[in-house]
Symmetry: C2
Subunit: 485 residues, 2 copies
């Protein structure tokens, strides 16, 4: 019943980034360890037999065998007679612990000591959340006489979300809104309805790893459109649209995850127009849009310059308010909203009533919510940047004007090896290749600034020390620099 | 952007039940109307052109054209120049109204007058729900310092659900439980992980329509195993398992939806053993299991006789407590639970914390919850049966000992036409073919007993009168009796 990753799939997931002259078993072990450490393969994934994997990788069976031995010795692979071998983490995570998914890693019994920089998320805004939950609970009885099913969401919440879009510059009515269980659920629903297996979907490169995994889960194929150093490359988007004729393109226009870039007003208009001309739905993920910390005012939402319905916006309260509140939304043309509502019934029928009432209460005090997030985040961002300047002066990053993380460029393409080495120091980070479809971005790591300042400072110091060891150990086998922004 | 149903898909969905000597346009129109009235095709589904549909059905283009004309005249089809034709309901449901999904039909502006017997669900148990929501809201602050993500569910709820399984006779630990957003979400997640596109999945015939649509949404193929008149046909299950070698089989062992049958203890043990021998996961949907009204004690859960992990149980609070509370669960071997938790992250990351705390409070008062449901349901069931005896003495049904609905056998195979005619009287019912993969069960309708007694009595009277008209009008064209249980 366990999932075994097929040899060809594992070969594709590994890519060619690990292939270097000499020391191939060592490099293969490092690459496999990287996949499990950064969550690209789930803990407990069964690996193919040595006999099966070797031809898929074009290496000898002995190479695979030595790589597996090394992983076993380091605690990343467990084998049982008659049950094969599976990936694990060396911290003693036993059968009763949850798998390492966002927010769970730090909470799992065996990883209590680890500092988790893989998750960009904050604790709840208190006492605001408690007050809103109490008011929502008091108002629940108004809905008790109904059957409780509202696949598109409660009218009162759809109206409140529409009003917030209108305030931000994109006039919106309630029938353009579908309430979801977070942005990931929204993306899954859009892909379920609009991406057939094998269909190609345009994505930013780099982009949020769970955007890529949602595309994979829909059995669609992500086609990367590279970001430039300072923003979106509209010629590249136009060329990809012309070459592929995709039905869907996915982008993150505000405090882009992971780069932190924000799309200019002019680029928004041009990209929406390109999508409209080509009949492509452009899905704008606005999860981080409301987390501006300083710097210039935000341009209007991408949807503002799109009268024709080519832009589908997805958003969420998970980053602006709290991840434990599972409320997101889709903004689209009313006809598409109706189709998505009907399709949603096969996925999970409808969303919870009480949770939606909490969201209504939070939106009524939205300025307070955002102010509490900003006052928490600004000193944390500044602490991260200060620590980087002090402990890792050769690393570079753009100062994030919003969002939850910094995209840090390393002086060498060692991100995966750095994350593996850091994991041995109980410090978890997400290396650049997790943000790509092809294993590129080895020059980058994403560092969230969501932990308290002192923890961030300590983490950066540890990371810089670890990088010093990784960097000197790997100078001899450095490969050509991969694509970077 | 609208969904067009492909000619071959529409032909398959229609089945052959509508084909009768003569009057084929009339019969085709009736069959298409049936699909939209009972929700097997969503409102706003675009239909193929007459030219495209005719060869798929093996009829002349003129026949399709006359059927479409008739649907247009009756208000079930709308055509617009250059935009094709799409199905709709003749009650004036406009672009701003939600689509007809469970519980929404009666609430939509244009259908406020309709009596909705398509939904088997109850209002919330008050004041219990309000009290539990208030306690949960007060306890939310304990989780505010966390990031709020628990893909397998909060430990306290997993423990409470496991304890309830143990009480019911299937000893269970928390690591065997994954909390979902209802049973539909649980089924979607299981299918996402374990059913590849094109893969065959065994299902009961008849079965819950959204079980079938979840299989379709996963692009898998439902293979029906017929129920016998008094229970499961284990020889048929064994033969299907041998013939197909499926990875998954889906059944509803307790107060089966729609037949109301409950699987005997002996059959449970035998079916679990067959599944274990064949390496098939048997998914038992226990959504209605706790709604026993009277009659013999329930056998232990299917999972109780399955030490080897061949049984996966899904359950929900939607029917026992309230549909507006989106809490369900999966019980399976710990390893599979971990794999499902990891897969869930791509669908919606995790469930809401507050909602889970409400579920914990409700489970602490679960006997009260169930008692309130039973005291509501018993007189409603009795009213439905009394009304059937009085107004439709030729219709037969087994007395439901639990669950939420009766499976009523009509004296003629007119269920689809009856539901179409009833819809014109503002009475919505689900005809038998909605519960099958092949359009059979035209002798049956499912009648929930969830409305107040007086409304049920009125509805049965209207339905019996309508059936009198339908029956006499169709005697001449009666087809051979379809499969029935």
């Amino acid at each position: 019943m366990s999932v075994t990753v097929a040899p060809t799939v594992l070969a594709r997931t590994l890519g060619d980034g690990w292939r270097r002259p000499g020391a191939s078993a060592h490099a293969l072990a490092d690459a496999l360890r990287g996949l499990v450490v950064d969550g690209r393969l789930a803990v407990r994934t069964r690996v193919p037999s040595e006999r099966a994997l070797a031809p898929a990788l074009g290496v000898s069976r002995g190479t695979v065998s030595r790589a597996y031995d090394r992983l076993r010795a380091d605690g990343y692979l467990v084998s049982a007679r008659g049950a094969g071998s599976w990936l694990t983490l060396p911290d003693g995570a036993g059968p009763g612990d949850p798998p390492p998914v966002p927010g769970a890693a730090g909470a799992a019994a065996g990883r209590a000591r680890a500092v988790d920089l893989t998750v960009a998320a904050l604790p709840a805004p208190e006492p605001l959340l408690a007050e809103c939950a109490a008011r929502a609970a008091a108002g629940l009885s108004r809905y008790a006489a109904t059957l409780g099913y509202a696949p598109a969401g409660l009218a009162v919440l759809r109206e409140a979300i529409a009003a917030r879009f209108s305030e931000r510059g994109a006039p919106t009515t309630a029938d353009q809104i579908l309430v979801t269980s977070g942005a990931q659920h929204a993306l899954h629903l859009v892909l379920s309805l609009l991406a057939a297996p094998g269909e190609r979907v345009l994505v930013d490169a780099p982009t949020y790893p769970r955007t890529l995994s949602a595309v994979r889960a829909a059995r669609a194929r992500a086609v990367a459109v590279p970001l430039g150093a300072s923003g979106w490359d509209l010629d590249a988007w136009d060329a990809a649209i012309r070459a592929i004729g995709p039905r869907l393109g996915l982008t993150i226009p505000d405090f882009h995850n992971p780069t932190g870039l924000t799309m200019s007003a002019g680029d928004r208009a041009a990209l929406a127009a390109s999508a409209a001309r080509a009949g492509m739905l452009l899905v704008a993920d606005e999860t981080l849009a409301e987390l501006r910390l300083d710097g210039p005012a935000m341009p209007p939402p991408l949807a503002a310059g799109d009268p024709g319905g080519a832009v589908v916006t997805i958003g969420s309260m998970s980053k602006s308010a709290w991840g434990g509140l599972r409320i997101g939304w889709i903004r689209a043309a009313p006809r598409l909203i109706r189709e998505l509502s009907a399709a949603r019934a096969d996925l999970d029928l409808a969303g919870p009533v009480l949770e939606q009432l909490v969201a209504v209460e939070l939106l009524a005090r939205w300025d307070e919510v955002l102010a509490s997030r900003r006052s928490l985040l600004r000193p944390r961002r500044d602490a991260l940047l200060a620590a980087l300047a002090e402990h890792a002066p050769a690393w570079t990053c753009r100062r994030p004007r919003g969002g939850l993380s910094a995209w840090v460029r390393l002086p060498a393409p060692v991100a995966t090896r750095l994350s593996s080495a850091a994991a041995r120091e109980d410090l978890l980070i997400t290396p650049g290749p997790s943000f790509s479809v092809d294993g590129t971005f080895e020059h980058h790591v994403r560092l969230p600034f969501t932990l308290p300042p002192a923890e961030l400072t300590n983490a950066v110091r540890t990371l810089a020390e670890t990088a010093g060891l990784v960097g000197s150990a790997t100078t001899m086998e450095q490969s050509p620099a991969p694509a970077a922004i």
